[in-house]
């Protein structure tokens, strides 16, 4: 007879925590729906060709109906289809931005925090330079310099984003570096690379996971903002920010051009924020669940 292992108990605790936390559940459900939409877009969308360069001269600016649940745009493209495909673009951009930012910021932060001293100073002063400007402004500037395209928008946002992760990782690594097992590892002859990769990094991850999930909403908003200003995705890419931008001149008469992609942006950002908040509550053992 084997007693239930601690890992089982932890999984169970996590499940209970998710159930008790309606915000997290709501956020997670919406986020999952979004992922599903992105993955299944070609199967679910009624007019897949409308995500591309298709034009339908006979179906321009139709109001929402059974055939076109979200209406059609100025080229006669089905907005519902484009919003679904937009989930692909938004999630793709967000995933890439976060991955690049983490890939740059976390290693630099871990190195700075673990070694301290001169290296720490150099890395942190560089992040200070980046953090001196608002992230959106910095992303705008880089997007302008790099030229307007989806790929450049990803790079521009990542450049503005990584210093946050560098800071966060540095703080975590610095506190982990002072813990007993790091000293014990040194006394066992563990090398620097292994120390950082196997011991410092994994013990610094929890707040990073929370932060990344909270930031997803912000990245989606920033990407939409860039596209809205014409510095991100270009037509015919079904990007939500771009769709809002293109639809705004029709807003007073054809409200659906702006409303549905706008709602999609809002829902997505909110979902990630809720999920991130919920994750923080679950992963932070010091936080007492009050409900």
């Amino acid at each position: 007879m084997k007693a239930p292992s601690l890992a089982d108990t932890r999984t169970r605790t996590a499940v209970i925590a998710v159930r008790r936390n309606p915000l997290l559940s709501a956020g997670a459900v919406i986020a999952l729906a979004l992922v599903a939409a992105a993955v299944l877009a070609p199967l679910v969308a009624p007019y897949p060709q409308d995500a591309g360069t298709a034009m339908h001269a006979g179906a321009i600016l139709l109001a929402p109906s059974w055939n076109h649940p979200f209406g059609t745009d100025m080229f006669g493209r089905d907005i519902f289809t484009r919003v679904l495909y937009g989930a692909r673009v938004s999630l793709g951009i967000t995933g890439l931005v976060l991955a690049i930012s983490v890939a740059i910021g976390v290693p630099l932060g871990i190195v700075a925090g673990y070694f301290g001293g001169f290296i720490d100073n150099v890395i942190m002063r560089v992040t200070d330079v980046f953090l001196a400007f608002p992230a959106l402004l910095l992303a705008l500037a880089f997007a302008t310099v790099l030229g307007a395209s989806t790929r450049n928008a990803v790079l521009a946002i990542a450049i503005a984003w990584w210093p946050w992760y560098a800071r966060l990782a540095r703080g975590q690594a610095a506190s982990v570096a002072g813990r007993g097992f790091i000293e014990a590892c040194r006394a066992l002859g563990v090398g620097r690379v292994r120390m950082l990769w196997r011991h410092v990094l994994p013990n610094s991850l929890t707040p990073l996971i929370v932060s990344v999930s909270l930031d997803a909403g912000g990245v989606i908003l920033t990407a939409a903002a860039l596209s809205f200003l014409g510095l991100g995705a270009q037509d015919p890419t079904p990007e939500w920010g771009l769709m809002v931008s293109q639809g705004q001149s029709f807003f007073t008469t054809q409200w659906w051009l702006v409303t549905f992609p706008g709602l999609a942006i809002m829902l997505t950002a909110m979902a990630f924020n809720l999920a991130g908040d919920g994750l923080r509550e679950i992963l932070d053992p010091r936080r007492v669940v009050t409900r």
Partner: protein, 258 residues
Amino acid sequence: MILEIRNLAINFGARCVVDIEALDLRTGEILGLAGESGSGKTMTALAIMGLTATSGARISSGSITVDDRELVHQRDTDLRRIRGSQIAMIFQAPVSSFNPLFKVGYIFIRSLRLHGASRSEARAHAREALEEVMLPYDMLERRPYELSGGQAQRLAIALAVALRSQVLLADEPTSALDVSVQGEILDLIRRLRDRDGMAVLFISHDLAVVAELCDQVAVMRAGRIVEFGASSQVLHSPTNDYTRQLVDSVPKLGTRAG
């Protein structure tokens, strides 16, 4: 002589924190290093490990040899091979000496593999070592936070045994444990000395423990060794004023400090 320290000086910037003329440790000997906090005991141990730099200190001169091999100012890659394999160190807070994310067994196997053991050798050495410290083999399935302080310290010692370390640097290994567990750990250290001929540098501010365990004792104050000799002699009839004060400061049962 397994460990020899000669004219060792360690500096924090311009301030000299350790200045030891000579300190020797023989195979099969337990040498106590006693003294109050900040007297340079731990710094001396770190110097032997070649780890002074991580606390911002620097060995400014002197020589430390283990098995006739010079350790001062050697390349870190060379020292890494000696750390753990020839010299092991155990610490005051045993539970936090284990990375909480790994099972104890993984830590054992990794450490042994790091020093060149094959997978099967590593497993065999770990098994023998656990027997030697009288812990069940399934202890390796546990995670660090599932261990008591005494178990964790036994495991730390078992790791040193598994790695076939010749020198054990024990930095206040019993200070965080309660008295009954303390006794078990001291017995264990004594057994390792008797069975394997391990040389132990036992750092402690607890004179009662030092008197019970150690063959020789060096008393440190402000980075210098102020008295050295057989522990019974040093602690029962100290010649140095400071040692006398230190001995007198130990509260005894039935007496009350005035």
